[in-house]
């Protein structure tokens, strides 16, 4: 009897330790960054001095660099990509739902193949192509490539979601006299709300996280996205002033983590409805 208890206590302890370890790996570095971003460079390096807490690093970032311009650039790109992709993929998936199965399967195979082509294999010809059109250093190549990267998985996800709608519902709606527009608005749209949310989140995340495409195709100062701009800023400053670097990183990741924690329930609901096999 007592042995059972001892082993239970051990297993619970291990479980708590494991959760603690995961929490530490995921949170501690960022907590460390946030705390140290309020120190001055001197008090951070010479730990025997009295630490003085200051928000100078943040004011330095927002006064010396045009950070809002970069944020606006990123938001413009994200907005256009999301708009184009959502409209195109939604109606494309709706059309595919009504086509022959053979054509549909060929399309899906192409989408999967396309989404596995890695970036180094395509960017050199694309760079030359956009260079001949004089479109390098504008938003056009970024928007085109992000849309192309987002389109396959958006269509695939929507197709999966549409296939889960029972065909009897659609058939009975038709007998009741719905036209196809009403079917889209009243059956397909409500049934795929979670998926839409998930896809929008994934597209925003993809555009936000991307470094390479923005770095290669829009490097000049007025067109930089936030990631590239921060990289350029920190490459010059971080070797001397670590707390400033932490402040920049904190301004970058605090909004992302906060928004993620706010919407995580909806994301998981979306994946649940997408992947659960009946």
């Amino acid at each position: 009897m007592s042995q059972v208890r001892v082993s239970q206590v051990i297993s619970i302890t291990i479980k708590i330790l494991a959760v603690g370890l995961i929490l530490a790996v995921s949170f501690l570095p960022f907590v460390f960054v946030i705390i140290n971003s309020f120190k001055t460079a001197q008090s951070f390096i010479f730990t025997d001095l009295d630490t003085e807490w200051t928000a100078k690093n943040y004011t330095l970032l927002f006064s010396n660099f045009d950070i809002f311009k970069y944020i606006t650039n990123t938001l413009i790109i994200i907005a256009i990509v999301v708009l184009i992709t959502m409209i195109l993929s939604y109606f494309c998936a709706y059309c595919l739902y009504h086509t022959k199965k053979r054509f549909r399967n060929i399309c899906f195979a192409l989408f999967v193949f396309v989404s596995f082509i890695p970036m180094p294999l395509i960017y050199i010809p694309l760079y030359q192509f956009f260079a001949t059109l004089r479109l390098i250093d504008t938003f056009v190549p970024l928007i085109t490539m992000y849309t192309a990267a987002a389109l396959p998985f958006a269509i695939l996800y929507y197709s999966f979601a549409f296939n889960k709608i029972p065909p009897n519902v659609i058939r009975s709606a038709k007998t009741e006299g719905c036209n196809s527009f009403q079917i889209v608005m009243k059956i397909f749209f409500p049934a795929t709300k979670n998926i839409t949310f998930l896809i929008v989140t994934l597209i925003i995340l993809m555009c936000l996280k991307d470094f390479f495409v923005a770095f290669v195709f829009a490097p000049s100062d007025s067109n930089r996205t936030i990631m590239v701009a921060i990289t350029f800023i920190l490459k010059q400053w971080s070797t001397t002033n670590y707390p400033f670097m932490f402040a920049v990183l904190a301004t970058l990741f605090i909004p992302i983590i906060a928004i993620f924690l706010l919407i995580q329930k909806k994301i998981f609901a979306g994946t649940q409805s997408l992947y659960t096999e009946q």
Binding site: V19, S26, F27, V114, F116, L151, I230, F260
Partner: protein, 290 residues
């Protein structure tokens, strides 16, 4: 004469297929052909000259090794995330907590890790503070080849184990609970259940995750290397995808050699695909769980 009528359901899919072909498929084949064409002035077919130039680079074997070494992150990540999911699988709330928390490293942009680690392993960073506290000499971590590779691999694991937990938790939820219960009744240990029931039954999820992670390791380490070492010292920590960028856009650029090095990456990826498919086929033929 009957008028040819297009079914309007085929218009939008056709448009998106043409668009994707323009952005992905045509450049893909252009890269393949460009690696056989001279791009210095005249564009003549020069056979394997670009490849000869690439292979005769003094650090070519070093770069290829670096690229392949990064792929060791794949099995480690899969094992860690699968084990965590299995460990928490009988407690739903805890599993959800772990899933949410471990996704945070995944959603953050990769440059955050780059700069964070460049501080930690810099000369005045935490790692050297620890070394001094333990009475060792401080050292330049990022000038050391083995240390740099280990650091980049651990960043990849750190940034992607959350995605693994996410995918595998869905996989284990879809798994029929009866299998595990039956195995428990028959007296399997947790280890045996893990290796003989869980792993074989969620094979397709593991396959998907390992392929996407492998592609990322081979072709996506660019931002990390750009931030941490710039490929240095010399070409010590350059991978093939970073070399492709160097050859395409930096000093004495040569698109031919850049395309050739991109094709070498493609060959590495194809080798991996061939291995995976062989394992699957052999496993099915002899009814071995794979």
């Amino acid at each position: 004469m009957k008028r040819f009528k297009i079914n309007r359901n085929y218009i939008l899919p056709a448009i998106s297929i043409v668009f994707l072909t323009m952005i992905f498929v045509i450049p893909f084949f252009t890269t393949l052909t460009k690696s056989f064409i001279s791009t210095q002035g005249d564009s003549t077919v020069i056979g394997f000259e670009n490849y000869r130039r690439l292979f005769s680079h003094a650090f070519f074997s070093q770069m290829t090794c670096n690229t392949i070494i990064l792929a060791t992150a794949v099995p480690i990540t899969i094992f860690i995330s699968l084990w965590i999911v299995y460990y928490f699988s009988n407690n739903r709330n805890l599993l959800h907590l772990v899933r949410v928390v471990s996704l945070i490293p995944y959603i953050l942009p990769i440059i955050v890790y780059g700069f964070l680690v460049s501080y930690v392993f810099g000369y005045k960073g935490s790692a050297n503070n620890l070394m001094q506290w333990l009475n060792f000499e401080p050292r330049e971590w990022l000038a050391n080849h083995a240390a740099t590779m280990t650091i980049i691999i651990s960043i990849i694991i750190w940034a992607s184990f959350g995605q693994g937990i996410f995918i595998f938790s869905i996989a284990i939820q879809n798994l029929n609970k009866r299998y595990i219960q039956l195995a428990e009744v028959d007296g399997c240990s947790r280890m045996q259940i893990f290796f003989k029931i869980i792993v074989p039954n969620i094979g397709k999820y593991i396959l998907f995750f390992s392929i996407s992670l492998f592609l990322w390791c081979i072709t996506g380490a660019f931002p990390l290397i750009q931030i941490l070492t710039n490929g240095g010292p010399g070409y010590m920590s350059t991978t093939l995808d970073y070399y492709t960028y160097i050859k395409a856009f930096l000093s004495n650029s040569d698109y031919g050699v850049a395309c050739a090095s991109a094709v070498v990456q493609l060959l590495i990826i194809l080798c991996f695909f061939a291995t995976v498919i062989t394992i699957r086929v052999i496993g099915k033929k002899y009814h071995v769980a794979s």
